[in-house]
């Protein structure tokens, strides 16, 4: 499939009229060279993932003795690798970590989202003294690297009774806090663009802030909320640093990324397990990505271009 689309891309690139500034650049480098370059880039960007996927479906002995591209001459497929990491012996079973990742990611997406929507209302609609200064402060917090807050935040939780009963609590809280500055910033930008008249009209009709927030703002914010939700989910799902430090290596809470990272260290040559494990870990993000690509791109642009 990839080859087809690339070939088609090449054709399309070649026949596109040079109407933009980019277009005439293309004309200069000549369509042939230009589309060859685009093709090379596209291949380089997809083949590694494709190779991982093919390998994950090959038997252990085949993976370890020949390259995945030999499937054309020697097709051997099996689901054994997936069976081993999803239902096999404890030492190679990743199913529990997959569940951990889900249990970590859902509250760690919902909480910062709700908190940030509410906070952005305080920063864009409510008028109070010092508001802009506090907002600049929150914006600035984005530059604090995770590493700066890690150890002291960890200490707040370690050894407390509540983190024994709720082992995921510290991970939820950590992800929530680390996600908040960007979330507030993005959603505030979006909320500031809602016309003032709309809010004023509702206020004159006697609506309180809670009503304006729930009935006027929330429905208008849905696209922005969707983009941020995707970001936060992918960010939490793909995180290693928080998962590694806050889970303390415990099997009960460790996310999939941390388990996989450990596996590359301990079983670096077990490619049948690594390929299948890696593919399982990127499956959910890929589904989310393809299903909600539109919102994903919109969020990216909102975060970086508008500023």
């Amino acid at each position: 499939m990839a080859a087809e689309t690339i070939a088609a891309t090449e054709k399309a690139v070649a026949s596109a009229p040079p109407r933009t500034s980019a277009g005439s650049f293309k004309r200069l480098v000549s369509n042939r060279i230009g589309s060859a370059a685009a093709l090379v880039i596209a291949v380089l960007w997809t083949v590694p993932t494709f190779g991982l996927f093919i390998s994950s479906l090959r038997p252990e002995s085949a993976i370890k003795s020949s390259g995945w591209w030999t499937i054309l001459s020697d097709p051997q497929f099996t689901l054994d690798n997936y069976e081993r990491i999803l239902a096999g012996a404890t030492s190679t079973n990743l199913a529990v970590y997959f569940q951990n990742s889900v249990v970590i990611a859902i509250p760690a997406t919902v909480a910062p989202l709700v908190l940030a929507i509410m906070a952005s209302y305080a920063f864009s609609v409510l008028e109070w003294r010092g508001r802009d200064w506090v907002f600049v402060g929150v914006f600035t917090l984005q530059i604090v690297p995770l590493q700066m807050a890690l150890i002291p935040l960890l200490r707040i939780f370690s050894g407390t009774e509540i983190s024994n009963v709720f082992p995921f609590l510290s991970l939820w809280v950590a992800h929530t806090i680390f996600g908040l500055p960007l979330a507030i910033f993005l959603l505030h930008n979006f909320m500031s663009e809602v016309p003032r008249d709309l809010i004023e009209a509702a206020r004159i009709d006697g609506a309180g802030h809670v009503t304006v927030f729930g009935r006027v703002m929330l429905p208008l914010m849905l696209p922005a909320i969707a983009s941020y939700a995707i970001f936060q989910f992918l960010w939490v799902w793909n995180d290693l640093l928080v998962g590694l430090t806050f889970s303390g290596g415990s099997r009960t809470v460790q996310p999939l990324t941390a388990a996989l990272a450990a596996m590359t260290g301990d079983r670096g040559q077990d490619w049948h397990l690594l390929t299948a494990g890696a593919f399982i870990s990127i499956l959910l993000p890929l589904v989310v990505f393809f299903a909600l690509q539109r919102y994903f791109v919109r969020g990216l642009l909102a975060g970086s271009v508008k500023g």
């Binding site: 689309t5 590694p48 993932t49 020949s66 509250p107 908190l115 002291p152 809670v210």
Partner: protein, 326 residues
Amino acid sequence: MGFFLYSKNGQLVLAVLAFVALMAVLLLVARLVDRAKGRGNTPVMVAVFGGPALLLLAVGLIYPALRTFWMSVMDKRSENFVGIQNYAYLWENPAGLVALRNTLLWVLLVPLLSTGIGLVYAVLIDKSRLEKVAKSLLFLPMAISFVGAGIIWKFVYEYRGAAQDQIGLLNAIITGLGFEPVRFLQDAPMNTIFLILVLVWIQAGFSMVVLSAAIKAVPEDIIEAARLDGVNGWQMFWRITVPSIRPSLVVVLTTISIATLKIFDITRTMTGAEFNTQVLANEMYDWSFTFGDNGVGSAMAVVIFLLVIPLVAYNVRQMAKNRAVR
């Protein structure tokens, strides 16, 4: 009740429910105040809407960051003051210097390469019929975790002795062309470059999407005017396209630089920081969590923070300038 307390899924449901209930109660209180007091109730509203987030940021980010500063001038158990001794480690110790050198290499190469590739690709596929599909292909690695990408590329870089069949794609190509197989991840200093390429692979999609949007926003009339002046494609690219999208280029470059400074996942997954591939962010982790020395670990976190500041300052200045122009 047992379900909520003793099973993971139960705790997940409980956490979401408890959180939503808490927020609902807060909003309910706000609503009652709203009704009772009419318009003079802003402080309560600010507390309800902004309070929870600000409180969490103060406790979970500001306080820990300040404490990390303090820990960076204390000994490994944070008991005695040691001044800048923890920082001195970085330039007095060969391992510290290697990490510093590698980190600089990362911050230099990743933004330049990923922005360059993203820009060229965005230009090449602009206005083509299958632009959307072509974009998705480059963009796809953005959804993959650094750990996942690390495994994908470790497999591509895999090395086997010359006598064996290669299972890594790159070495298969190299031996197929008649050369000796290359130990991509073991031989310094090139191994750092090969790790850097993995992050380039992930970040190029980001720059491509942002720059592509910027290219489309270049006004038609500027392009037409330039064309009437007889500008050729090369000049069009350097004199019209690049200057027009400069603000976006700055944002992309600085954003990727900042992200690069904090990355430790790729090094950790692919080489375990061995073979001279150590970077600051990973060394910070090792000192704090493997060697249990919070002093040096915190000092490294502070150094990362200090390296980020000029980038952000530059970014903010550019944004302010662009706003003023608009």
